[in-house]
């Protein structure tokens, strides 16, 4: 058996999506845990509430994801002790990027979307690859269903080109309920064609009044 190799990783599947609005942010992920063609469990959350206004959703290898979430939660606790305040979403965004790059040569097999409210109360979504490369965007999808979902979000949320000058905000003008409905539709579609997505959808909405959780049943096949 090799000293390193792909026995150390497995892909537990799943999809994560986040959409930033004017004064809210929606973060959603399915709850199916799979290995190969097997379903391990239908009710496993991929979402972690890191701070008052910061929520992280990750898909990939569940062992690494759990370790990453625990790591960030511990760092956030330290930050609170040292600064006597909660971490902002952009700050957590940078911390996540650094944490991922720290393991550049033995990566966390985790594909992340970080969602929350920035310091001005506007919706804030950061999207990452497995080694920490990140960007602030108006919306993002990561995981096994991302290639099915991103084109639909591009179409519906009419993201302005990042090449435009002056730079246009990618935050969507949709209302909170409209964004949540879009997320439900997009997951229902991904569930049809992606075998790793399904069972149940967990939707987290962050706005000025706090964090709200909602669930939607998805197809179980």
């Amino acid at each position: 058996m090799a000293l390193r190799g792909d026995w150390m990783y497995e892909n537990n599947g799943g999809t994560c999506v986040a959409i930033a609005g004017i004064d809210y942010c929606v973060v959603a992920a399915d709850t199916r845990l799979s290995v190969g063609y097997n379903i391990l469990t239908r009710d496993h959350s991929k979402i972690c509430s890191l701070a008052d206004k910061v929520v992280l959703a990750s898909s990939g290898f569940q062992g690494d994801i759990r370790a990453l979430h625990k790591n960030l939660a511990a760092r956030h606790l330290l930050y609170q002790h040292q600064h006597n305040k909660q971490m902002s979403c952009p700050a957590m965004g940078q911390l996540l990027s650094n944490t991922l790059y720290y393991k550049r040569f033995f990566p966390y097999y985790a594909f992340n979307v970080l969602g929350g409210l920035d310091n001005e109360g506007k919706g804030c979504v950061f999207t990452y690859d497995a080694v920490g490369s990140y960007e602030r965007v108006g919306y993002s999808a990561q995981g096994s269903g991302s290639s099915l979902i991103m084109p639909v979000l591009d179409n519906q949320l009419k993201s302005p080109s990042p090449l435009l000058l002056p730079a246009r905000d990618a935050v969507t003008p949709l209302s909170e309920t409209e964004a949540v409905d879009l997320v439900k539709d997009v997951f229902a579609s991904a569930t049809e064609r992606d075998i790793y997505t399904g069972d149940k959808l967990e939707i987290v909405v962050i706005n000025a009044s706090g964090i709200k959780r909602e669930y939607l049943e998805l197809r179980k096949d």
Binding site: M1, L3, R4, W7, M8, Y9, E10, N12, L33, V35, N38, L40, T41, D43, H44, F61, Q62, G63, D64, R66, A67, F106
Partner: protein, 249 residues
């Protein structure tokens, strides 16, 4: 060329002072293995079941291996995979429980805590490329709250109302998904478990007809003595198998 013990994980290897390490001891592949574990919650607590076989590759070397053990007052652990690594895990867990008891503060570690500790051990060993080659099921009850979780050798862990490892995932869980209920009595739960164990006996070549069931409730733990199930081989297809091909054996 000399033998050196690593300060990091205690592994021994041959080292040439001029060159880096040439060979080292780490789990490369399992030797003596246990097959599936099945676990499920029922009305009063949690049930774990397994057979008592320890296979050495394709040889059924050991036939009385206890693969389900008690951990503290509130937890049962069942292990499949490398038996010696399970014994190592029991050493870790017994030490954890001992230190917890030594505090003598009226508190005791519940199944959630033990599972979390185990998850970290398994994940950290995987990070050092020296895994404990096991898939474990942890079940328990504490203050009326039932818990059932699992963790494997690379650190993937989750909880559910019913769980299995290895072949049990393929053969037992579909049965459990269709017939498990929240309010099973102990007798009904045993019947359901025996149904799963029978399928595993017929279809998993590394299982034997000697099973052990363990239950845990708020009142305490019971690991029942091993027993055998009745099998049926009288299918018409098995009678006179060479009927259609004279001269065959």
């Amino acid at each position: 060329m000399e033998l050196q013990r690593s300060m990091v994980d205690g592994s021994v290897c041959m080292k040439d002072s001029a060159k880096s390490e040439i060979s080292s001891e780490r789990t490369l592949y399992p030797y003596v293995t246990g097959t599936s574990i099945i676990g499920m919650k029922y009305k009063d607590g949690v049930i774990l079941a397994s057979d008592t076989a320890g296979s050495y590759g394709s040889t059924l070397r050991y036939k009385s291996v206890e693969r389900i053990k008690q951990v503290g007052d509130h937890t049962l652990i069942g292990a499949s995979g490398e038996i010696s690594d399970f014994q190592e895990i029991m050493r870790y867990l017994d030490e954890l429980i001992l230190y917890d008891k030594m505090w003598d503060d009226g508190n005791s570690l519940g199944p959630k805590e033990v599972h979390n500790y185990l998850n970290r051990i398994m994940y950290n060993r995987r990070n050092k490329f020296n895994p404990l080659w096991n898939s474990l099921v942890l079940g328990g009850v504490k203050k009326g709250q039932k818990y059932l979780g699992t963790v494997n050798m690379i650190g993937t862990h989750y909880e559910d109302d019913h769980l299995a490892t290895g072949f049990g995932n393929h053969l037992a869980r579909p049965i459990l998904r269709s017939e498990w209920r929240e309010d099973l009595t102990f007798e009904e739960a045993v019947k359901l478990i025996e149904k799963c164990l029978l399928v595993l006996l017929y279809r998993d070549r590394s299982s034997i007809n000697k099973f052990q069931i363990a239950k845990i409730t708020d009142e305490g733990t019971t690991i029942f003595p091993p027993y055998a199930l009745k099998t049926f081989w009288g299918f018409s297809h098995f009678q006179n198998p060479s009927k259609g091909a004279a001269g065959t054996w």
